[in-house]
């Protein structure tokens, strides 16, 4: 009967280990995508600011 416990433990560890790892990978992907979107927004803002300055140059006196 004790053999069943070892069998269940081995399968549970493999399944849980893989599921936890896949969840961690998913969270990491989500985190990096969020970060990339934020940086992308900053780049866009910087690009827009540069365009505005070029369209309306500071008047020379």
């Amino acid at each position: 009967m004790q053999g069943i416990n070892y069998l269940i433990a081995a399968y549970a560890i493999v399944w849980l280990g893989l599921l936890i790892y896949m969840a961690i990978v998913m969270l990491r992907i989500r985190g990096v995508r969020t970060e990339l979107a934020a940086v992308e927004e900053l780049v866009r803002e910087q690009h827009n600011n540069a365009t505005t300055i070029n369209d309306n140059p500071t008047p020379k006196y």
Binding site: G3, L7, A9, Y11, V25
Partner: protein
């Protein structure tokens, strides 16, 4: 889990420009691999617990074999891919090979850890001990340490060319341990069983069949994880480059 298939604006731009991130993106690949892996896992579990014969000597714990062998196989396959990608990186100097190597190392670490744990549990039921300094076990533990060393090196040195180069060298040298693990049961007297798969008459045909289903399933899982981690590596590099361009 197919989150890595979504493309951001920057990635689309990079893909259009044909830059380093312009890899072929196949969202359908992830979906197919995940579906096949899920089906394979269910079929494997069904076969292992409903069809596989119970071993006359070891009893029920022998069924650990159907998961222990595939996770060990993936651990070694991952190191093979890591070594091949490392050679390609040193030769071509293309960072995509480095992403592949890094992804494979991470997955290999997880699988070789699971191989050691399931092997230890199986050893407890068969040999009466959780661990013994047997040749197969010791060489596998060495592989685990090599994987950990590789991951630590990557973590400490960051995403630089020096890090990629050093890790590639470690990956290639570390691969020497894989054939040693495989041959350890032939070279030394060990407690670990001799290779039975492929030896005529060593295993009943139904056992070999179920093991093959399990091996294919775990290989599909490895491929699925590789796609996800490769995309993760690519996205991290893009984010790092964009951040650097802002500074």
């Amino acid at each position: 889990m197919a989150l890595a298939n979504n493309q951001t604006h920057i990635e689309e731009q990079a893909a259009q420009q044909g830059g380093p991130a312009a890899t072929v993106r196949l969202p359908i690949v992830s979906i197919i691999l995940l579906a096949l892996t899920s089906i394979g896992m269910m079929v494997s579990i069904g076969l292992i617990f409903l069809v596989a014969p119970t071993d006359a000597v070891e009893g029920l714990p022998q069924r650990i074999f159907y998961f222990h062998v595939p996770v060990s196989w993936i651990g070694m396959l991952a190191f093979g891919v890591l070594a091949a990608a490392s050679i390609a990186y040193l030769w071509k100097k293309d960072e995509r090979w480095d992403w592949l190597a890094r992804a494979s190392a991470e997955i290999g670490t997880v699988f070789i850890t699971l191989a050691l744990v399931t092997g230890s549990i199986w050893g407890r039921t068969t040999w009466g001990t959780w661990w013994t300094w047997d040749a197969r076990l010791t060489t596998t533990l060495i592989l685990w340490f090599i994987y950990i060393g590789y991951m630590m090196l990557r973590s400490y040195m960051g995403r630089t060319h020096a890090s990629a180069r050093s890790a590639a060298v470690l990956g290639i040298i570390g691969f020497i341990d894989v054939p040693i693990i495989y041959e350890s049961v032939n070279w030394w007297r060990t407690l670990h069983p001799q290779p039975e798969v492929g030896t005529p008459g060593a295993l009943p045909p139904e056992v070999v069949g179920i093991l093959m289903v399990s091996l294919v399933t775990f290989t599909l899982l490895y491929c699925f994880l590789m796609v996800q981690l490769y995309q993760l590596e690519k996205t991290q590099m893009l984010a790092q480059r964009l951040r650097a361009s802002l500074e």
